[in-house]
Symmetry: C2
Subunit: 590 residues, 2 copies
Amino acid sequence: MTYQAPVDDIMRTLKSAAGLDGLIAEGVLEVDEDTIRAVIAEAGKLAAEVLEPLDTLGDRAGSKLVDGKVVTPPGWKQAYAQYVAGGWNGLAAPAKWGGQELPQVVATAAAEIWDSANLAFGLCPLLTHGAIDALEAQGSEELKRAYLPKMVTGEWTGTMNLTEPHAGSDLGQLKTRAERRPDGSYRIFGTKIFITYGDHEMTDNIVHLVLARLPDAPPGTRGISLFLVPKYLVNPDGSLAARNDVTCAGVEHKLGIHASPTCVMKYGENDGAVGYLVGEENRGLNVMFIMMNAARLAVGVQGVALAERATQRAIRYARERKQGRSATTKRADMAPIIEHPDIRRSLLTMKALTQAARAICLVTACETDIARRAKDPAVRATAADRVALLTPVAKAFSTDIGCEVASIGVQVHGGTGYIEETGAAQIYRDARILPIYEGTNGIQALDLITRKLALEGGKVVAAYLGELQRTVEDVRVCNRPEFGRMGKRLAEAVAALGEASRWMGSQLQSNPEAAMAGATPYLRLFGLASGGIYLARGALVAARDGAQAQPIALARFFAENLATAAPGLKDTVVDGADSTLMLAPEVLSP
Amino acid sequence: MTYQAPVDDIMRTLKSAAGLDGLIAEGVLEVDEDTIRAVIAEAGKLAAEVLEPLDTLGDRAGSKLVDGKVVTPPGWKQAYAQYVAGGWNGLAAPAKWGGQELPQVVATAAAEIWDSANLAFGLCPLLTHGAIDALEAQGSEELKRAYLPKMVTGEWTGTMNLTEPHAGSDLGQLKTRAERRPDGSYRIFGTKIFITYGDHEMTDNIVHLVLARLPDAPPGTRGISLFLVPKYLVNPDGSLAARNDVTCAGVEHKLGIHASPTCVMKYGENDGAVGYLVGEENRGLNVMFIMMNAARLAVGVQGVALAERATQRAIRYARERKQGRSATTKRADMAPIIEHPDIRRSLLTMKALTQAARAICLVTACETDIARRAKDPAVRATAADRVALLTPVAKAFSTDIGCEVASIGVQVHGGTGYIEETGAAQIYRDARILPIYEGTNGIQALDLITRKLALEGGKVVAAYLGELQRTVEDVRVCNRPEFGRMGKRLAEAVAALGEASRWMGSQLQSNPEAAMAGATPYLRLFGLASGGIYLARGALVAARDGAQAQPIALARFFAENLATAAPGLKDTVVDGADSTLMLAPEVLSP
């Protein structure tokens, strides 16, 4: 069943939710709409012709460790070469280092499409992009010159080495150590786990970014430094020198994304892996956060991508599969199941959640561009705050709905959905990593309430709530009959988010544990209110332009069927903390 | 990580939610509490010692078709023999056929325990029990004598053959045909798919119950007959005769329950499979419904079972895994993650949902016993109606939360949860079949609103709502400080269910499509309100008896954090149909 890139949906979302027209008119994006559409459509071709055909195959073959080398599935290396040859890796990278410097939002849309077609493949560039960002932001000119050009083309890939067996969410516990050498380089010793594409033979070299601790570093997160550790050392002329002292010691056997090698990496089992400091000593976590924010948005986009893929599959299946009589058409023979009201609810839920999450992600990507490209520093700062606020929502809400939509997708297929050959089950398995990696969704929720709500003394979230409220007013003013109760439900959802936000603000001072107890339902509420508003903006545009039934129906469905959860989530946040915390941990028995 | 049967939780639920003490005192159950506890505890031993050690192994090895025979995983046959030798299979079967005739609720509790330990194993007896029920209800004395004794001991297993490639939810489409033979037997020809334990070598014989159509049968569901088709024919003296014309043509490659062979069965590829009519010609679906209702409750119990297993694993992991600082204990070193508020919310959600679903299932099982055993025919009839009402909720709510709790279980483990060796992922994969088989949860929701709400002109659901409301009053009267807003939230939930039920009643007459559009959120609302009330009954007992913190905390947590979704679900049901149906199916594009 062929994947088709949702070019129209993406363009519509960019225009209605993310304000694309204005950004182009103001010269912020420095690219026109036709170019964006053309790039996205071309990305869709690569997805449909090269990446999607390898998706099932990659799941079955998996990546394996054979004789100390990671063997990716058949076709993987060639597909990656095509991706590199097409110039896709440098889409948003700086022109100085060979990139095309297109807006981040274009690269984000393209990434969604590749991730839809083949998530396990799409993960590799995701990590390279994070490494490029970190190196560009904090690396020395010498390091940049030596590594960035090849990373931007994709000739070399990048990795992020954070996790250790005893340091996952809590990076302050990491033990990998770095020793200073007289030549200014370092030697790295330690074991890292869960390293995505930690090793492979698709490229000549791999550039590892590794968190480690110097012997005299302070304990905890303030004593962590970031090092660049290449798989092969690089000569001054750019040619490859000796193999560095880093090896892949194992590839995990995972629930999904089988083709993406998740590696155990050993650094310095002999005389130490040669590493180069990125940024300042003991300030590595700050640099890593640069990578992580972009990567968190990128993972949110993966959630959208799998939700989109699952939705396409489910709709196609529901159009073909015939069972039972239709209440709608009264036809004598069996009806396609898409005619049954309960299946329509399932499909609309899938589609509405997917488009809401996509809007949140694309808005965040657009704000990233504004934060980088706007001429007015105040505009840039405001956009950067908006990115900070929305990133945890983009990551957690989108990946949660990625799993939920994948699950509905299995369900729509009935018994067939449980059979691996159908493909719905693979999406379900693949999607389950997304709420976990790049900071679990629980960590995202805590980030949202403890750091992001506090930005500028609460003004950042207040301004955002004001914008949501203005859309509520616009919906009420427009008030078309086909909007139904959209205005009422969105008003309730935004009011619920406002009340929960105020409660969070007060609790964080007086009773932070209570605030933390409500973090996850608060983030869900945030996603529902935001997503509902973004879909409503699409409905307003569709109502203005006429003729498009689907954006209005989806926005109304979301408001009347999904955003209805908002007031209850507010109650949970505001009144649920005491009962969440009343049972002492030691009393909660298995 | 060892599974421990939740004997205390089960007993507490039986007493507080299902009224066990009264049923024993009135002589309905004809068994005392100590016996029930002893049987359940003994079932727990079999689970922990024999079944659970095979669970991971069974997942990895799977059942496979080798040279036309289904090979179950190593140890499977021996474990099944132990299960049979222990007399477990006939726990609730009629004494007349060798069973122990214990109450259904005891067998239900035991099944939960075995399913927790090893779902793929537990499936085999589930199907046998369904076949026993059907045969006992409608089989001729001759058939019963020939087959029931061996099926009750478990020496022969049973299967249900309903689904065909073009007949899943819509059984009226099935094409398997039956031809009458002069000796009174029939010959069966056709292909059935998704046949659980359709073939295996664990027992000497397998008794297939097969739906088929006679040549002169009316079309649709009124022309379906049920046949007993043994794998081996049986001589008058009970010894086995020739192999029947039925073969396993394939075993599916599934997302989970790998050890349970899901078979493609071919009947009559040569001269026809010998079959014997069960019940009357063309009335087969009625008999099958007898099996299905019991099987639907049993599948609901599987949802509880996997939720329980996932919860036990997650709590144990959260006690051991240390990351980050605790806001509670202020200890200097890393805290077990169970001390973090967001993890506490996750674990309480798992535990509260599990116990709520268990209560719904055990209440339904108790009502089954009352319907069979009470002396007063009016009491029996009322209980039978209650079983009919609650069965779709028990099946769908419990299996939905089975998947949700399994998903939270993966999440609590973080990256480790995505690694297959941890075990959390297997539960997640295994659980996903439960909302699909024995009637998809969408079918359950439609059954609930179209058939069950209409029972006795709506009096059955009205009486049930009245009971829920009385518990709301009890909670308000008790009104302990530690109950928090439990009374308020449960009152809102029951009121929401009442309003949605009344709306359903009116729409089913005037606008059945609108009712069907809201069936799934209505069933969820039903489960949340019922589950919340049953947990509250546990809290009331605990408050009366003193000292037990956990039942009160779980009930309050459920009311304040999960039942809060009820009013929003009511809004979705009552106001969401128009937007669910406004987009014509052909407009909904992939």
